[in-house]
């Protein structure tokens, strides 16, 4: 800082600085000439003193900024000299940047969607990899149970499995929907709270429990006309009678584009495992 302010003071007196340097060196060499009596030698040295002056002047100047500013002015002069080239270069740059932005906008819109999760930065998908075949697959239920009880890194671990189901009831024609079988803690882990009724409870995933189902907002709206009395009604999911216990808010469709949720009930006979999260 001390250096900086001193340099600033000298910046406006550059000519004075040059004259002082000149005088200082001249004095030095004249004294030397008088002492040695060798005037030509002193003269010769004064010529060489340009280097010394240069070094000293650089100490006092903002050498980097000053040369940078010279470069900028040189560049502007050259650009002004060849307006045709400048125009073409600017058009090329503009088109390039424009195309870049357009591609980014399209890709960003096409490949990123709302996962329905609040804290994506703290959410991980747990899976297994077979290194010999470089194949990835989900986690079996026993493994999931072990992971959930042993984990110290994760605040909560839930599992889901996707399947496509037939939904039928006494109101209208059966429809094909995506159903996520999800462990009872799934709504807690994915931070989804129902707008109507409740989510899953621990009892719901016990083997032999009364089958329950939670609907997404859009199924509730499109198929059941947003009637609150839908709670407690029985519908058939793949021919299994299930009681509607809750409805989730709009735009909350985790995982992916699921339409309804049923509890993931452990089944020793199941071969393909669910995905843990």
């Amino acid at each position: 800082m001390r250096r900086f302010s001193k340099k600033l003071q000298k910046l406006w007196r550059r000519r004075q600085l040059d004259r002082d340097l000149e005088d200082e060196l001249r004095f030095h060499l004249e004294m030397k000439a008088e002492e040695t009596g060798n005037r030509p030698e002193a003269q010769r040295r004064l010529g060489n003193s340009t280097v010394v002056k240069e070094v000293c002047r650089e100490l006092w100047s903002f050498a980097n900024i000053e040369t940078w500013w010279q470069d900028v002015r040189y560049a502007l002069r050259m650009l002004a000299k060849t307006p045709g080239f400048t125009l073409i270069a600017m058009i090329a740059l503009a088109l390039g940047i424009g195309a870049d932005t357009a591609v980014f906008t399209i890709v960003n819109g096409a490949f990123s969607w709302n996962l329905g999760l609040e804290h994506l930065d703290r959410t991980v998908l747990v899976g297994l990899t077979d290194p010999s075949r470089n194949q990835q697959f989900g986690v079996s239920y026993p493994d999931f149970r072990d992971l959930r009880s042993e984990t110290k890194t994760l605040a909560g671990l839930a599992a889901y499995q996707f399947l496509s189901v037939n939904l039928s009831d006494t109101r209208s024609l059966p429809e094909r929907y995506w159903c996520a079988k999800m462990s009872a803690n799934g709504f807690v882990v994915s931070e989804q709270r129902p707008v109507l009724g409740r989510g899953f409870m621990a009892e719901d995933e016990r083997p032999g429990a009364t089958p329950v189902v939670v609907l997404t907002y859009h199924v509730w709206q499109d198929r059941y006309g947003k009637v609150a009395s839908i709670l407690g009604k029985t519908i058939r999911v793949n021919e299994v009678p299930m009681t509607i216990v809750g409805v989730m808010p709009p735009a909350k469709r985790f995982p992916e584009d699921t339409d309804l949720w049923t509890p993931l009930i452990p089944d020793a006979r199941r071969s393909n495992g669910p995905t843990a999260m």
Partner: protein, 114 residues
């Protein structure tokens, strides 16, 4: 013989020029030429300080606030730039002298054992 003598003298150990300048100025304000003369005489003509290294060093010390300067009249009535030690420079001189003493003593000890 001649070359050996020149090599063993006159060349300053790196970083000691600043210390020698500060030490010289500790005895009073002086112009660049006087500083060079003083160092040369006190070292029995072994150390020669040329303007090429003296003035950049002086200006660097001035920028760092180790020395101050003002223009005055020399003994033979010429305009000359006189340098003087600042409080900061005095402190720096003390620190450099201490570390030089330690270094010189250490080198001496090593050379004696050989």
């Amino acid at each position: 013989m001649g070359t050996a003598k020149r090599r063993s003298g006159g060349e300053l150990v790196q970083g000691t020029l600043d210390m020698l300048i500060l030490k010289t100025l500790a005895r009073g304000a002086m112009h660049g030429y006087g500083i060079a003369q003083s160092i040369q005489q006190l070292s029995d003509e072994v150390l020669r300080v040329e303007e090429g290294s003296l003035y950049p060093a002086l200006h660097r010390l001035e920028l760092d606030g180790m020395v101050g300067s003002e223009w005055g009249q020399s003994a033979n009535n010429r305009r000359a730039k006189y340098y003087h030690l600042t409080a900061r420079g005095r402190k720096q001189l003390q620190a450099e002298a201490n570390s030089w003493e330690r270094l010189a003593a250490a080198i001496a000890r090593v050379m004696e054992t050989a």
